[in-house]
């Protein structure tokens, strides 16, 4: 998708413009159009100083308070893209609910997918405190003008993918999300605390699936290895473009929306995940991955950023399918929403009549 194809391309308040920085759940979603820079008057200068001081003191910014337009826009974009990611994120895993191998796995997977739906709801709620409507955000998702995490544009081909997603994708998401619990914007930080509390089970159930397969028959081991092969690089890319490419990290760090750079978080993810793969006796699909005594970190191979950008721009394996699934879910739910509205109207009318006749 190019900039000019998007209906909202000229408005920086909208979420739709193509954002090369767009990474994933939360990272790298902070780029701003140059046309969005504000022209400060004396009044806003004083307000800005007050705002900056508050952020500096690590105090939270709350919904009704004055905030710079660019801060508001950055948050609306980041929080709504995060919300969309949770919602679209239900699809790859939802794909396996009916085929989960045991009743226990099925119950767990349903609970996880419900949690992701809940995460989307917490985040839409947080975004709405910034003055956007949920319907507008949902409409942008359905229209294909909003972004969500690229990771969910990959298919879930085998049951082992459900293990790999919980272990790697939720693992990467947790690493992204924990620092946001300290975000300067109160409602986002609080939503994130709630989300992080729920994420840990997601990662552990995924690792448990991987462990079961890795200790299983040769065919099960091969399935686990295949899933790791396919999910490793997309998971590593979830942290967004490298710091060298990410021009707006500095501003988001100053605003304390972001606390660590993309590369810092990515390194941390690799450092904790590589030994877990060793434990599973599975091989990370990176021949250059090795422990570096000098830096006390893992060294890894080059990331194929052309793939990342291809998927962000809509050319991943499942981009169309995901949007199609969201649209048809929305359409199929229409009669339920209409019936609920009609029933509520009828109930209110009856209450009014009773009141009048009394």
């Amino acid at each position: 998708m190019t900039h000019s194809e998007l209906p909202y391309a000229n408005s920086c308040v909208r979420l739709g413009h193509y954002d090369p920085e767009l990474a994933v759940y939360t990272q790298g979603l902070d780029s701003l159009g140059k046309d969005c820079l504000q022209t400060p008057s004396a009044d806003t200068a004083a307000l800005t100083a007050r705002f900056d001081a508050k952020v500096e003191r690590d105090e939270k910014i709350e919904p009704k308070e004055w905030m710079p337009d660019a801060y508001r826009r950055t948050l609306v974009r980041q929080i709504s893209q995060h919300a969309h990611s949770e919602i679209v994120g239900m699809l790859p895993e939802g794909n396996w609910i009916t085929r989960a191998p045991t009743l226990r796995r099925k119950a767990v997977l349903i609970a996880k997918v419900q949690d992701e739906g809940g995460h989307g709801m917490y985040l839409y709620s947080a975004a709405e405190t910034l003055g956007v409507s949920r319907d507008e955000l949902v409409a942008q998702l359905l229209a294909g003008t909003a972004k969500y995490s690229s990771i969910f544009n990959y298919p879930t081909l085998t049951w082992a993918d459900i293990g790999a997603i919980g272990w790697l994708v939720d693992g990467a998401a947790i690493m992204n999300q924990i620092p946001i619990c300290r975000c300067s914007y109160g409602p986002y930080a609080r939503a994130m605390v709630r989300i992080c509390r729920e994420e840990s089970f997601h990662q552990r159930q995924g690792f448990e699936i991987m462990m079961t397969l890795a200790r299983g028959t040769p065919a099960q081991r091969a399935m686990a290895q295949d899933a790791l092969n396919r999910w490793w690089w997309p998971s590593v890319m979830m942290f967004g473009p490298s710091d060298a490419e990410s021009q707006h990290t500095a501003q988001s760090m100053r605003w304390k929306i972001k606390r660590f750079t993309n590369d810092e978080l990515r390194q941390h993810f690799i450092d904790v995940t590589a030994p877990q793969a060793d434990f599973l006796k599975l091989t990370v699909p990176d021949p250059e991955l090795r422990w570096d005594e000098a830096t006390q970190h893992y060294r890894c191979g080059e990331i194929d950023w052309s793939e990342f950008h291809r998927v962000v721009k809509g050319h991943g394996p499942c981009n169309r399918e995901r949007l199609q699934a969201r649209r048809s879910a929305h359409e199929q739910g229409r009669w339920v929403r209409e019936a609920a509205s009609a029933y509520a109207e009828k109930t209110r009318a009856r209450a009014r009549r009773l009141e009048e006749s009394a």
Partner: protein, 95 residues
């Protein structure tokens, strides 16, 4: 997902008996009853509550953050409302 005409409700949850209700977030619902059911599904999937309140967001009046300094000014110079304002000798016990 909601319909455009569904109002926003703020959700408050009492996590255990004996504690106060605490604001946890908001959601859209067609009426208060649906808001309660949605609040249960969205905010208490792990038994986080024993009681839920919902209130239409539009019914909530809030103090203005920009006026906060002036609004809370009356209490600012009344330090004598705190026990630490009073110097009591060490040797006096149980006070």
């Amino acid at each position: 997902m909601t319909s455009p005409d569904w109002p926003l409700f703020e959700v408050f949850i009492r996590s255990r008996s004996g504690l106060e209700h605490k604001h946890v977030g908001s959601l859209h619902a067609v009426d208060a009853r649906m808001a309660l059911e949605h609040a249960r599904d969205v905010y208490t999937r792990r038994l986080e509550g024993v009681s839920i309140w919902v209130a239409r967001s539009s019914d909530i009046a809030a103090s203005d953050p920009l006026d906060a300094d002036a609004f809370f000014e009356p209490a600012r110079d009344k330090v004598y409302r705190h026990p630490t304002f009073y110097a009591i000798p060490e040797e006096v016990k149980n006070l």
